[in-house]
């Protein structure tokens, strides 16, 4: 065995690199390139895949023009943006404070840790129903506590602002564990020796956390942030289950609207254009963020 390994010519870094990248590239080529090209091409047609009896009409950028000149779409983008900012920031503040204490060893930590991870493991479909049940104005657990505490019952899902808060509560419940897990992994990854050195130097815990722990775990936290950013931008299930977009369409996210155009109206061309717009925005945001992340990474080095 050993002899044969010695005899074989070692693989060059170049080949190794190529071999390592091939599986992902194949997936990307098949599963991303094809639908993405279809999106681009279809977005220039007035076309419904369902109404195959109607000939597609090439309309250049008319679909984009139609969508971008629709003030309702901008409302949806604003609402989505508000939701993303709220939910991601709440999740990070919560997750980092919990992870800070969860990184230490204490009795029952493993069990607590596993239990705290459960919300993100649940099926999103079930989570939608669960929170709709909890937020029901008449028999929901939420209003039970609200009225027990002496406040008036709250119409959680019938008022735009309340509904936004309700969905943020549900989304935070579901996804904070994701951030906690990555944050704990990142915090625990920091060499004990560095922490100890800082402690001996007399650095306060707050100083150690903000000047040492956070910057050193920035790469992983950054990835967590990026993934949460993308996912919450796409959030649709919870709004669908909790509000259905009501009142009016004030709690409709872009993804929600996209789902309607694509599958309910079945305007394939218009939906493709909207998907491209959404992708451009997500890619743009991510790009800015990744640049920032790389800069932090470089500074660290």
């Amino acid at each position: 065995m050993a002899a044969s390994r010695m005899l074989r010519k070692p693989i060059s870094d170049r080949t190794l690199c190529t071999l390592f990248l091939v599986p992902s590239l194949v997936i990307l080529a098949v599963m991303v390139a094809y639908p993405f090209l279809s999106l681009l091409i279809n977005s220039t047609y007035r076309f419904s895949a369902l109404r195959s009896n109607v000939e597609p009409v090439f309309v250049w950028l008319d679909n984009y023009d139609f969508l971008l000149s629709d003030p309702d779409l901008w409302d949806r983008f604003t609402f989505t943006g508000t939701f993303v900012v709220l939910t991601v920031s709440v999740q990070f503040i919560l997750a980092i404070s919990v992870a800070y204490y969860l990184q230490r060893d204490f009795r029952g930590r493993d069990l607590l840790f596993t239990v705290l991870m459960i919300p993100m493991m649940l099926s999103p479909i079930v989570i939608g129903f669960l929170w709709r049940y909890i937020f029901n104005s008449e028999w929901g657990l939420m209003n039970f506590f609200v009225t027990r505490l002496g406040f008036d019952a709250i119409d959680w899902l019938g008022v735009t602002d309340n509904a936004l808060i309700a969905v943020v509560i549900a989304d935070t419940w579901m996804w904070t564990p994701f951030v906690i897990l990555l944050a704990v992994a990142a915090f625990r990854g920091i060499p004990v020796s560095i922490q100890e050195a800082a402690t001996i130097d007399g650095a306060s815990p707050f100083f150690r956390f903000t000047r040492l722990t956070l910057p050193m775990s920035a790469p992983i936290l950054g990835i967590a942030f990026l993934l949460r950013l993308i996912d919450s931008f796409k959030q649709y299930d919870l709004f669908f289950a909790l509000t259905g977009g009501a009142p009016g369409s004030t709690t409709e996210t872009v993804s929600f609207y996209l789902a309607k155009v694509a599958f309910s109206y079945f305007y394939t061309g218009e939906a493709s254009a909207l998907a491209v717009i959404q992708l451009v925005i997500i890619i743009g945001l991510s790009l800015i963020f990744v640049r920032l992340l790389t800069r932090i990474g470089r500074q660290r080095q």
Binding site: P247, G248, A259
Partner: protein
């Protein structure tokens, strides 16, 4: 070292098993099987139970989907790729235009021609039209009435027939308390029974933004007050949807929420059922579909004292009485791309026999005339008699391939009116304008006509002078 190996072995095992299963999976027995798509529920359950007894060599395989957009999406997506992932499907009445209009559904007229058993005369003409005809009045059918449904009224007999309550009501309102025949009466009764301190409310109705919750409910008011959604001949929406009569109806609907539980204005059918079963509602608008469970003491503790009736009508601004409410239910359509048209025909010929339909009618609502006309059917439960009458008053919204976008616009604007973001008039005017724009974008030409104050006088049968009283006892 050891651990690494174990991981490798495990992953290998998983992949191996998958590969093995793949090869066996594709080689599974190929007897004739027909796959159908429907949303899950009691009706799908009983359908499968009956289908399992089919004597021929055909297996009926359910591909059930959740009630909601996945149901429509699953069917639409298969049609969009012209695939044969399912052989037949039960779709909502309004989808016929969408699916048949694009040629995805096999013609039922041809099925009637081919078949010695199946024929248009087996079904009530109105039912066949409701669940299968497109375009309206063309005589072209694309579905068979497999599961009929209509909007209905359920009420608490122990409240509405209580002598003390009756006396108190008459003293207060000057006429006897009875099952309401007009929405005006319904409002009085709802107001009378709205007692928040007792946890009791007078009226439950849906206002949810999902699917067609707010639209089917508000349409029932709109039509009864003499309004119309549009003019099907000229495709005008402006002047019809926001006609004074239409506004009257939707305004009445919006006002009725004050007699429901606070926060109930975004409810759907499940919340209405739950609230009614909890004894929180004296009356509720609900689909007949759910009456089976609302008459079941295991589900509804008030089942013994629950009455089922027909929804009220209304006296419109022209002084005429009209009664019209939304149709529900599904037709069964055949996938035009299915390779098994003969097997489908064989199965449907058997399934639409009285014997099978009687079994179905015990749980859900059949569309077979001979069963519907039989006296046993009417006595089968406490709501069939009312259902048979209710079928005469049903109406449906747009039978156009683009109904989904029109529906979504109306849902949004009615929701705006319910939440108070807009007045009813503003909401309906905005809806009319947006719907016309959507129609133009879809290639329709909007004609011009003189929109009357009460549009129902030109489009549907005119109302009647007297309030028509329907009772079922």
């Amino acid at each position: 070292m050891k651990k690494c190996n174990r991981t490798a072995v495990l992953s290998g095992l998983v992949l191996g098993v998958s590969a093995l299963a793949l090869s066996t999976g594709s080689a599974s027995a190929q007897g004739t099987s027909l796959t159908f798509v429907w949303h899950a529920g009691t009706c799908a359950d009983i359908f499968v139970e009956i289908a399992n007894d089919f004597p021929g060599d055909i297996e009926i395989v359910p591909a059930l989907v959740p009630y909601g957009p996945e149901w429509h999406n699953r069917i639409a997506s298969e049609f969009a790729i012209q695939g044969d992932g399912f052989d037949f499907a039960m779709w909502d009445s309004q989808s016929t235009a969408e699916f048949a209009g694009a040629g995805h559904a096999a013609s039922i007229n041809e099925l009637f021609d081919r078949s010695d058993v199946l024929d248009a005369s087996l079904f009530p003409p109105a039912s066949l039209a409701r669940y299968g005809e497109y375009p309206d009045g063309s005589g072209q059918y694309w579905g068979l009435p497999i599961n009929q449904d209509a909007y209905g009224l359920m009420y608490r007999r122990d409240l509405l027939e209580d002598p003390e309550e009756m006396a108190a009501f008459e003293a207060q309102y000057g006429y006897p308390l009875a099952v309401p025949q007009t929405y005006q009466q319904a409002r009085d009764i709802a107001e009378f029974f709205t007692r928040p301190d007792e946890g009791l409310y007078g009226w439950g109705q849906m206002g949810g933004r999902e699917y067609d919750f707010a639209t089917t409910a508000s349409d029932s008011f709109l039509w009864s007050f003499g309004g119309e959604l549009y003019n099907p001949e000229t495709f005008e929406v402006d002047g019809y949807l926001n006609s004074p009569a239409s506004i009257d109806g939707v305004q009445f609907y919006v006002d009725m929420f004050q007699y429901g539980p606070p926060g109930s204005n975004n409810w759907g059918w499940d919340e209405i059922n739950a609230a009614f079963q909890q004894g929180r509602l004296a009356m509720a608008m609900q689909w007949f579909y759910f009456n089976g469970s609302n008459a079941d003491p295991d589900v509804n503790p008030h089942a013994e004292s629950t009455g089922f009736g027909v929804l009220p009508g209304a006296i419109g601004r022209d002084g005429l009485f009209r009664r019209q409410f939304s149709v529900g239910g599904q037709g069964v359509g055949i996938n035009a791309y299915s390779q098994q048209q003969d097997a489908i025909q064989e199965f449907l010929e058997w399934y639409f026999q009285p014997e099978q339909q009687q079994r179905y009618a015990a749980v859900c609502q059949t569309g077979l005339a001979s069963v519907l006309e039989s006296p046993e059917w009417q006595d089968l439960n406490s709501f069939n008699a009312a259902f048979a009458v209710a079928l005469n008053y049903t109406n449906d919204y747009w039978h156009l391939p683009e109904y989904n976008i029109l529906l979504d616009i109306l849902q949004e604007e009615v929701s705006n009116a319910i939440s108070g973001a807009k007045t009813v008039e503003e909401a309906l005017t905005d809806a009319a304008e947006r719907q016309e724009r959507a129609l133009v974008r879809a290639g329709y030409t909007i004609g011009e006509s003189e929109a009357p104050e009460v549009p129902d006088t030109v489009i549907s049968p005119v109302g009647m002078q007297e309030v028509e009283v329907l009772t079922f006892d």
